[in-house]
C-alpha cells in the first residue's frame, strides 16, 4: 500500500498498463513531455518513449478518430481529452463511431481497446467551460461504457479494468478532488469490476446514490442526517453505463426511499433514467417520491458556483424532505 492522490493513482494505473502491455498507447493534448495539464501522464513518455506516449495536435475529433482507428488495428489506445467540456468536437467519433463499430460490422471489427480519459466537474472556479459533467450526454449510447471513480483506490482499479475491457470506455475523472482525495492504494496491479455499484454504508431509511466527486457531499449529508436519526444507505454507482439496476433496486426495496445526486443540470441528467427505472422496479415499495438533487438547468456559473453545486446542505435538506413526506 502507498498513499496516493487521485492523480497519482491514475498515473500509476497508466504506468502499470503500459508496462504490462506494449500495445497500450497514451496520447492527447500536452500529455507528452509535459505529462498533461494535470500531470496524469507524467513520466510516461520518459519511460515508454515518444511513440507510445505523445502530444497530439489540438483537435479532439482527430484524437478520437485516430484512437478509433488505432483500436480497430488491435492497439489499446488511452486517449486524453484535456477537459470534459472539450469532448464535444469528438462526439461524432464517440457516439456514431466508437459505440457502433462492433455492431455495424457484425463483429468483424471492433474498437474495444479504446479508453477515453477526461477530467470533469466543477468547484474549481472554472466557469462554463472547465466545469461540465457531461456523462449523461453519452449515457444514451448503447455500445459505450461509462465509469466514474470516487477516490484514488477506485480510480486505479477501475481505470485498469477500463483499459482492459473489450469495449470502448469513457472514464470521467473528478478533477475537483484530483489532489484533495488521498488514500491508501495497493501498489500492485488490480482491477475493480465495471458495471457494479458499491454500497459504502448500509442504512434503513433512505438510499442515497451518486458517483465521482459527488460522493463526498453524499457522505457529509448522510452524516448530518444520522445526527437527526435518519439512517442512510449510501451507494456509489461507479458505472453509469451499463448501470447496476439490481443493487440499487434491492436497496430501495429495503429503504423505501431514494435520493440521487449529480452535478450536471437536472433536465436530461442521468438521475432521470435512474428514477424512471427504479419507480418501475420498486413501485410498491416507495414511501416517497424519488428525489433528485442536481445542478440547476443553466450553464455552469463562475462566481456563484457554490450556489450552483448540489452540496451536502442541499442533499441534507432533500433527505429530510423525503423522509418527512
Amino acid at each position: 500500500m502507498a498513499e496516493m492522490n487521485l492523480l497519482q493513482a491514475i498515473n500509476n494505473a497508466l504506468d502499470i498498463a503500459m508496462a504490462g502491455n506494449d500495445k497500450v498507447i497514451c496520447f492527447g493534448e500536452d500529455v507528452g513531455v509535459f505529462g498533461g495539464v494535470f500531470r496524469a501522464t507524467s513520466h510516461l513518455q520518459e519511460k515508454y518513449g515518444r511513440e507510445r506516449c505523445f502530444n497530439t495536435p489540438l483537435v479532439e475529433q482527430g484524437i478520437i478518430g485516430f484512437a478509433n482507428g488505432l483500436a480497430a488495428q488491435g492497439s489499446i489506445p488511452v486517449a486524453e481529452i484535456q477537459f470534459a467540456d472539450y469532448i464535444f468536437p469528438a462526439f461524432d467519433q464517440i457516439v456514431n463511431e466508437a459505440a457502433k463499430f462492433r455492431y455495424r460490422s457484425g463483429n468483424l471489427f471492433n474498437v474495444g481497446g479504446l479508453t477515453i480519459r477526461t477530467p470533469y466537474g466543477g468547484g474549481i472556479a472554472g466557469g462554463l467551460y472547465h466545469s461540465q459533467s457531461p456523462e449523461a450526454y453519452f449515457a444514451h449510447t448503447p455500445g459505450l461504457k461509462i465509469v466514474v471513480p470516487r477516490n484514488p483506490h477506485q480510480a486505479k482499479g477501475l481505470l485498469l479494468a477500463a483499459i482492459r475491457d473489450p469495449n470502448p470506455v469513457l472514464f470521467f475523472e473528478p478533477k475537483r478532488i484530483y489532489r484533495a482525495a488521498v488514500g491508501e492504494v495497493p501498489e500492485e496491479d488490480y482491477e475493480l469490476p465495471l458495471g457494479q455499484a458499491e454500497i459504502l454504508k448500509e442504512g434503513e431509511d433512505i438510499t442515497l446514490l451518486a458517483w465521482g466527486a459527488q460522493m463526498g457531499y453524499l457522505e457529509k449529508a448522510a452524516a448530518l442526517a444520522e445526527k437527526e436519526g435518519i439512517s442512510c444507505e449510501v451507494i456509489d454507482l461507479r458505472s453509469i453505463l451499463p448501470w447496476d439496476i439490481d443493487t440499487l433496486a434491492r436497496s430501495v426495496m429495503k429503504t423505501g426511499r431514494l435520493l440521487i445526486s449529480h452535478e450536471a443540470p437536472l433536465t436530461g441528467g442521468f438521475a432521470g433514467e435512474i428514477a424512471a427505472t427504479i419507480q418501475e422496479r420498486c413501485f410498491l415499495y416507495l414511501e416517497s417520491p424519488i428525489t433528485r438533487v442536481t445542478g440547476l438547468d443553466t450553464p455552469f456559473p463562475l462566481v456563484l458556483e457554490k450556489e450552483y453545486l448540489p452540496d451536502h446542505l442541499k442533499i441534507f435538506e432533500a433527505i429530510k424532505h423525503s423522509v418527512n413526506y
Binding site: 483537435v59 478518430g65 485516430f66 488505432l70 456514431n96 462492433r102 455492431y103
Partner: protein, 392 residues
C-alpha cells in the same frame, strides 16, 4: 516551426492559386499510351484480373440498380465511371494493406476477391451477411480481405485510417492503410484532423480522394473554391499527386509510388483521382434536377472500362469474343448469387442485441426476451422474425 528565415519588406500576398497541379495520365481513350509516358509494369494475367474486376463491378452495379427498381433491395449505389480508380488503387497495393473506404469502392473489394455471394448477402441483409443485416445495402466489410466495414457518416474513416496506420507502423509490419473519400467528404473537419495528424506523426497512410465532381447535387464548384483537393497537401508538408481517375494505368502507377513513400519513409501521401460520377448519387437520387446531359455525355465518352479494353486489345491480350464471354459469365454469376441470397432467411432475432457489447448486458437480455415474447404473441405482425421467435 515556420520558416522565418526569409523576410521581405513589401506586403506581398501569396495568390490563392500559387500552386497549380497537373494531372498525371498515361493512357488515352483509344487505348494508346502517351508517348514517353511512365507506365506501371503489368503482365497479362494481372491486367486481366484488373479488367475482370472492373467489368464485374459494372455488371453488379447494373444488375443491382435494376433489382432496386424492382423492389428487391431497398437501396443501391453505383460506381459507374469510377471503376479505374476503385479497382486500380487496390491493384497497386499489397493485399494485406488496410483499406478504409467511403462507400463507392466496390471495385476494390471485387479486385480483392469478395465473391458475388458475399456482395449479395450484404445487399439482401440475410443470415449470411457478415454485418448481420444491420446496415443498409452497400455497407460491405471483409476482415480477411483487410477491408474495413463501410459506415455511413462521411469522413469519419479518414482520421481512423491515420490511427490504423500508426498502429501498423508501431507493429513494424511494413504495411500501409489507404483511405478513400469523395471530394465532398474532404470538406469535413475530420479530413483536416486526419491529414495534419498523419503528417506530424509520420504515419504510413495514403489519402485517396475520388474527385468525381459532385457530392449528391452539390458540384465541386460549390464545395470549394480551390483547384481541387490536392493543393491542400502543402498545408501538411505532404507529398501529393493528381491522377486521371479514368486511366487505370496512371492510377496504378501513382498509387504504387504513393505506397513507396508511405511504407518506405513512413510518410503520408495525398492522391487525388479526377473522375466523374456518371450515375445518380444513389438509387434515391435523380441528377436531372441539378446537371445536364451534355456534361454527362462528355464524361461517358471517357469510360474507363472501354479505355482499358482498348489498351488490352492493342496489346493483343483481349478479343471481342472474350469480351462477350466475360460479360455473359459475370452476369450469370451475379444473377445466380442474387437468387441464392434472396432465398436465405433474415438474421435471427438474437442479432438485435449481439455485438452492442462484447457480451449482451442483462438489460439487453431482458429486452430481447420481452421482444421474443411479444413477437410470439403477434407473429403475423413481425414476419421476419416470427419463425425464430416461435422456435425460441
Amino acid at each position: 516551426m515556420a520558416n522565418q528565415e526569409r523576410t521581405i519588406s513589401t506586403p506581398e500576398f501569396i495568390s490563392g492559386n500559387a500552386l497549380q497541379i497537373a494531372t498525371y495520365q498515361v493512357l488515352q481513350q483509344d487505348g494508346s499510351i502517351i508517348p514517353g509516358a511512365v507506365v506501371p509494369e503489368l503482365d497479362q494475367a494481372e491486367a486481366g484480373k484488373i479488367y475482370r474486376a472492373m467489368v464485374f463491378t459494372r455488371v453488379l452495379d447494373e444488375r443491382m440498380l435494376a433489382a432496386q427498381r424492382q423492389g428487391r433491395v431497398s437501396f443501391y449505389l453505383q460506381s459507374t465511371g469510377e471503376e479505374a480508380t476503385t479497382v486500380g488503387f487496390a491493384a497497386a497495393l499489397d493485399d494485406a494493406d488496410m483499406i478504409m473506404a467511403q462507400y463507392r469502392e466496390q471495385g476494390a473489394l471485387a479486385y480483392r476477391g469478395f465473391t458475388a455471394d458475399e456482395f449479395m448477402n450484404q445487399l439482401f441483409g440475410n443470415d449470411l451477411d457478415y454485418g448481420k443485416g444491420r446496415q443498409m445495402p452497400i455497407h460491405y466489410g471483409a476482415r480477411d480481405l483487410h477491408y474495413m466495414t463501410i459506415s455511413s457518416p462521411l469522413a469519419t474513416q479518414i482520421p481512423q485510417a491515420t490511427g490504423y496506420a500508426y498502429g501498423q507502423k508501431l507493429a513494424g509490419d511494413k504495411r500501409c492503410t489507404v483511405t478513400v473519400f469523395g471530394e465532398g467528404a474532404a470538406s469535413e473537419g475530420d479530413f483536416h484532423a486526419a491529414l495534419n495528424m498523419a503528417s506530424v506523426l509520420r504515419v504510413p497512410v495514403i489519402f485517396l480522394c475520388r474527385n468525381n465532381g459532385y457530392a449528391i447535387s452539390t458540384p465541386s464548384s460549390e464545395q470549394f473554391a480551390a483547384d481541387g483537393v490536392a493543393p491542400r497537401a502543402v498545408g501538411y508538408a505532404m507529398q501529393a499527386i493528381r491522377v486521371d481517375g479514368n486511366d487505370v494505368l496512371a492510377v496504378i502507377k501513382a498509387m504504387q509510388e504513393a505506397r513507396k513513400i508511405a511504407v518506405e519513409h513512413n510518410e503520408p501521401v495525398l492522391v487525388e483521382a479526377m473522375s466523374y460520377r456518371l450515375a445518380a448519387h444513389s438509387s434515391s437520387d435523380d441528377p436531372s434536377g441539378y446537371r445536364n446531359k451534355a456534361e454527362e455525355d462528355k464524361w461517358r465518352a471517357k469510360d474507363p472500362i472501354l479505355r482499358l479494353k482498348n489498351w488490352l486489345l492493342s496489346q493483343g491480350w483481349w478479343s471481342e469474343e472474350q469480351e462477350k464471354a466475360l460479360y455473359e459469365e459475370l452476369r450469370q454469376q451475379v444473377l445466380e448469387a442474387m437468387k441464392r441470397a434472396q432465398q436465405r432467411p433474415p438474421p435471427p432475432l438474437d442479432a438485435m442485441i449481439t455485438d452492442v457489447y462484447d457480451r449482451p448486458t442483462p438489460l439487453l437480455q431482458s429486452q430481447l426476451e420481452a421482444l421474443r415474447a411479444h413477437v410470439g404473441k403477434y407473429p403475423e405482425a413481425y414476419p421476419k422474425s416470427a419463425g425464430g421467435a416461435k422456435h425460441g
